[in-house]
């Protein structure tokens, strides 16, 4: 017997969705849409952009080396596989 769970779930889903929708309608959530467009733009100043000076040079070298090593390993695996594709 699984239908009671399905039906309860669907009934609850409909009821909650409709209740929220009509709350929104009554509460004026669908009015003043022109102002709503600007909501993300209100408040706070923008932080300054990332500065190169905060990035210590030696760390940059090590990390780039690691990343390049990762890429090189990926590339090497790929080339090796392609060269040996026929022998697989």
């Amino acid at each position: 017997m699984y239908f009671p769970y399905f039906i309860t779930y669907m009934a609850l889903g409909f009821a909650i969705s409709l209740a929220v929708f009509f709350w929104a309608l009554k509460n004026g959530q669908f009015k003043d849409q022109k102002r709503a467009r600007f909501l993300p733009l209100e408040d706070e100043h923008e932080p300054s952009a990332a500065k190169i000076s905060t990035f210590h040079r030696y760390e940059a070298y090590v990390l780039v080396l690691l990343a390049v090593a990762g890429l090189a390993a990926s590339g090497a695996v790929l080339i090796f596989a392609l060269l040996n594709a026929n022998g697989a």
């Binding site: 969705s17 467009r37 909501l39 990332a50 990343a67």
Partner: protein, 456 residues
């Protein structure tokens, strides 16, 4: 009530906690993915190590990506933007921090239990009952915090991002209970076809009612801010939100078109899968028109760059999804690696990109200092972009090989050698994504804890 009072300054511990959670579990999740991909090339690699066999690694990878990496990343941004948009403070940062801790403990239990072989064996619903309960508890804590913040808001209008995140959390908590059949703790399943229907109702709604709304919420906040332009249309965004709820909830059965489920249910799932073009285009038209002529501003902000790329991926994955629900297309594309390619475009290319974008967008704002390294973030962006596009190409090719071989009655052992080289390529691309996750973790940890940048 519309007085633009600035919100009280906080240290955003909840948002920071979710940023770290996401970055850490991305490393673990991608390492599991890489290991799984390697095992597909070399099946004997872990043959005597029971807890590392493919059957255990794969669910760990999938569940960690879903609940460890992407969801916390999207929640990190939500815990920042919801109070901002409502011009109030978060209801309880303490509750938020408790949620972060509980969430991480849950992820540890997920890894340990699945590695030990405790599984309910249902895709996307593998976790055993106690862990199901912990996950529902985690979502409930998030929901209480967000809904109480909504109740205390000073801004009367709920911006569309708030709609999306609140709906996403509550719908997932409820759908998760149903999909995991929590009223049967021992098996976590029904019997026969009804179980398959229920499982895929939940399985697709994890994307449709969790990752999609949370990602849309982040995009609707980040893109207008990065472009310094109002949203193209708030009415259209609300239309997209409600149509998503109506349409997305019905499409799970498109995973079962080749199974004896009732035909009317299949028809509904196919029709609504195609109808998904409505909420998808409502979202994309809105975001892209907001960004129209302002791509320079998006390029200048690494967070917005991730998010905008995610929206492009959303376009591709959604169109692909609608097409894949058509029975004639599905005869070739289903039950093979085509679906794996599709899933990676959706979860990594769309939701994962937007989760990372949300993190990188809020980090300078919650720490008050510039991002530790824009260069590393940019590098990560390119590695993920190349990785996910590579995945898509390679796995789509493998999917077509498998699908056509199956249709032609080809035996499996003759097809496997043809797939081998593509699997190797996939694993090498996975290595790139794993490396990028390490880079992201380093960048995020340094941005939060050891940031010597100038306070803005």
């Amino acid at each position: 009530m519309t007085d633009p009072t600035p919100t009280m300054p906080t240290n955003y511990p909840t948002a920071k906690g979710f940023c770290l959670t996401s970055a850490f579990w991305m490393v673990v999740a991608t390492s599991m993915g890489l290991l799984g991909a390697t095992e597909l090339i070399a099946p004997d690699l872990t043959e005597n190590v029971g807890w590392l066999v493919f059957g255990r690694i794969r669910p760990i990878h999938v569940n960690l990506v879903l609940f460890g990496f992407v969801t916390p990343g999207l929640l990190a941004a939500a815990f920042y933007y919801v109070p901002k948009l409502l011009r109030t403070e978060l209801y309880s940062e303490k509750l938020g921090v408790i949620t972060v801790l509980a969430w991480n403990f849950t992820m540890v239990f997920v890894v340990v239990s699945l590695a030990l072989g405790y599984t309910q064996g249902r895709e996307y619903a593998e976790m055993i009952w106690p862990i199901d309960m912990l996950i529902v508890g985690g979502f409930s804590l998030v929901f209480v915090n967000l809904i109480m913040t909504v109740a205390r808001r000073k801004e009367p209008i709920l911006y569309v991002s708030v709609w999306y995140v609140c709906a996403g959390i509550v719908l997932t908590a409820v759908t998760f209970c149903l999909g995991n059949v929590i009223w049967r703790p021992n098996t976590g399943s029904l019997v026969g076809i009804p179980d398959a229907i229920l499982l895929w109702f939940y399985g697709h709604n994890v994307f449709g009612l969790l990752l999609t709304p949370l990602s849309a919420g982040v995009a609707y906040y980040v893109i207008p801010r990065a472009c310094r332009a109002p949203l193209y249309s708030h009415t259209l965004s609300l239309f997209g939100f409600w149509s998503l709820l109506v349409v997305y909830t019905h499409i799970g059965t498109h995973h079962l078109l080749q199974v004896p489920v009732p035909t009317w249910l299949k028809v509904i799932s196919i029709v609504d899968s195609v109808a998904m073009v409505i909420p998808v285009m409502a979202f994309l038209i809105n975001i892209w028109y907001t960004a129209k002529g302002k791509l320079g501003e998006i390029h200048a902000d690494i967070g917005a760059k991730f998010v905008f790329t995610g929206t492009i991926m959303y376009f591709f994955v959604s169109i692909q999804g609608s097409m894949m629900a058509l029975p004639d297309v599905q005869r070739v594309t289903h039950f093979n690696n085509w679906v794996v390619a599709h899933a990676h475009v959706g979860v990594l290319g769309f939701a994962g990109m937007i989760a990372l974008g949300g993190i990188y967008y809020i980090l300078p704002r919650i720490t008050g200092r510039p991002l530790y390294s824009r260069f590393l973030a940019d590098f990560q962006y390119w590695m993920i972009l190349i990785g996910v596009i590579g995945f898509t190409v390679v796995l789509t090719i493998v999917g077509l090989i498998q699908g056509n071989a199956w249709l032609n009655g080809e035996t499996v052992y003759r097809v496997l050698p043809e797939m081998h080289v593509y699997y190797i390529t996939r694993a090498s691309l996975g290595l790139m994504i794993f490396s990028s996750a390490l880079m992201g973790l380093y960048n995020i940890v340094r941005s939060i804890f050891f940031n010597t940048g100038e306070i803005s």
